[in-house]
């Protein structure tokens, strides 16, 4: 880890003042479970680390008319302990429980989960987020891509979004709030994630001098929800594919659906095809299967990860059946 200066502001405004204008100059420290590893591996070498742990307003969970406001520094464990979260956002709870290390849940934060860097091993070993060798060849297509993207991978970005909570948040229609020196802005979680097209952009819609301050999860309004993760291990392990669904029902048929896949694309993958396939249908094994097939119809697996297409289908199917209480 390269030496850095450390600051622990007590307000967001103060924190904003400590941030550099270029990526690489400063890093924001939340729970530390990702940033410290990135720094130890010299993937990040910030000159300054700005801790958000002293900013009390970022640790709050507040209920408001437009939904539940969850501060960026709320830990995963605190999220799980919140009565309202437990009552209204089953899919978020299931997503959070998928982080099967109590230590990560105790340290890791909601904001950190959304802003953590991809786990792509080429990236982590220093070949860049859009990994190239010294001759400029894209390393992923002909390399070790068993855990890489099967959707949205036609551009240079072939990593998968690492966030555990994002698929559920997208399905629930959540927004992130972002603060900068020039004011606050709000972005749909879905739009917050982006597949970078060149080395100067990141995988999230955040500038180096902005801070993700929290999320707003709209009132669930009785939508049926579930998240299903396909993980090889029950202990701490990255999912191979995730699906989170939110279903607005009209009686026993689906009025509108959101089906969001995780760990299959550089961003959480909101499948309009699956949603369309479900509209007006009752959820059962066969409609769930049709939706799963629709969600993966455009999959473009790489040399080693065709199996993830099947896993993602299973995740969609099982999430739908779980949401409908038929798992």
């Amino acid at each position: 880890m390269q030496a850095f200066e450390y600051s622990k502001p007590t307000t967001t405004k103060e924190a904003l003042g400590m941030l550099g204008a270029q990526w690489g100059e400063t890093d924001i420290l939340a729970g530390g479970t990702d940033l410290l590893s990135l720094m130890k591996d010299y993937v990040h070498t910030p000159k300054r680390v700005v801790s958000l742990s002293g900013i009390k307003e970022l640790k709050l969970i507040k209920s408001a008319a437009d939904g539940l406001h969850i501060g960026a520094m709320v830990t995963i464990e605190e999220l799980l302990e919140n009565a309202q979260v437990r009552k209204e956002y089953a899919s978020l709870v299931q997503a959070a429980r998928g982080i099967s290390s109590p230590q990560i849940r105790a340290m890791g934060t909601v904001g950190g989960d959304l802003c953590q860097r991809p786990r792509c091993w080429y990236f982590r070993k220093g070949f860049g987020l859009l990994p190239r060798d010294s001759r400029g060849r894209d390393l992923v297509p002909n390399g070790e891509n068993r855990y890489h993207a099967i959707l949205g991978n036609s551009g240079p970005a072939k990593f998968v979004s690492a966030s555990s909570l994002a698929p559920a948040l997208v399905a629930l229609g959540a927004k992130v709030t972002i603060a900068s020196a020039s004011g606050n802005r709000t972005v749909d979680v879905e739009k917050f994630f982006m597949a970078p097209t060149d080395a100067s952009t990141r995988e999230v819609d955040l500038k180096p001098n902005e801070i993700l301050t929290g999320i707003v999860v709209p009132v669930a309004g009785g939508a049926k929800q579930a998240t299903y993760e396909v993980r090889q291990k029950e202990a701490l392990d990255w999912p191979l594919a995730t699906a989170s669904v939110a279903l607005k029902m009209s009686g026993s048929t689906v009025q509108s659906a959101k089906v969001v896949l995780g760990h299959v694309a550089p961003t959480p993958w909101n499948s309009a095809e699956a949603a369309q396939a479900l509209a007006g249908k009752a959820i059962n094994e066969s409609t769930a299967k049709v939706a799963a097939d629709a969600a993966l119809a455009r999959a473009t697996p790489l040399s080693q990860n065709a199996y993830k297409v099947q896993l993602a289908k299973v995740a969609v199917k099982r999430a739908l059946l779980a949401a409908a209480g038929k798992a």
Partner: protein, 217 residues
């Protein structure tokens, strides 16, 4: 919970604040250890709008309240809690194994929660109660969790053991009547290479039974 000495100054005190004014930072005077802040110009300009002090990158004072006692250190901000414990305080119960928030061998309890001390900066642990395995049974007796590990042979080489003991301690504190299924799900943040999980599972169940009544927190 351990009692905190009434003269413990760790709480809410912000060591390092004193003497580190914005001016000294901007003037590049450096902090402790003769370190000089070398920052790209852009960063300095940006910083002038700010009001929070920056400390380091050289050694800064850090006060850690460990097992109820405050320890004052002068360490770089980049020093992790694990390295502070092991390298600066000679508390070597917590182990460095993966050093990347995966294996749990470095587990200590901070503010009542189990954490990977390899992935927490020491400076971030200021003002919080840090409990390490050294503080579990200071009198030399065995804590019920440790005793259950011994009884169930939940250890072989023992290098994952202190971290596992702390994870179990934090677990049974929150799950006084755990089921086997809860034990399996609740200890997913620790890895063992020798393969002691069968013993650890039983140790967690036994320890919870032993600790009932809160006698041995």
């Amino acid at each position: 919970m351990s009692k905190i000495d009434s003269d413990s100054h760790g709480k809410n005190k912000q060591p390092g604040k004193k003497g580190f004014s914005r001016r000294s930072f901007l003037g590049g005077l450096g902090i402790g250890g003769g370190a000089v802040a070398t920052l790209p110009t852009g960063l300095l300009v940006e910083s002038q709008a700010a009001a929070a002090p920056a400390m380091g990158p050289g050694p800064i004072p850090v006060a850690l309240r460990i097992n109820g006692k405050v320890h004052n250190l002068n360490i770089e901000p980049r020093v992790t809690l694990l390295d502070a414990l092991r390298n600066h305080l000679d508390m070597t119960g917590a182990k460095k194994v993966c050093d990347r928030a995966t294996c749990g061998a470095c587990t200590v309890i901070v503010a009542g929660r189990p954490v990977y001390s390899c992935s927490m900066l020491a400076v971030e642990a200021q003002g919080k109660d840090i409990q390490t395995i050294e503080g579990l049974a200071p009198s030399g007796k065995l804590h019920p969790v440790s005793a259950a590990f011994v009884e169930n042979d939940a250890q072989q080489c023992g290098f994952c053991t202190p971290g596992f003991v702390m994870a179990v301690k934090a677990f049974v504190d929150r799950h006084p009547n755990p089921t086997m299924d809860q034990v399996k799900k609740g200890l997913g943040g620790n890895l063992c290479r020798c393969g002691t999980y069968i013993g650890v599972r039983q140790a967690a169940l036994d320890a919870a039974r032993q600790m009932k009544g809160g006698k041995n927190a």
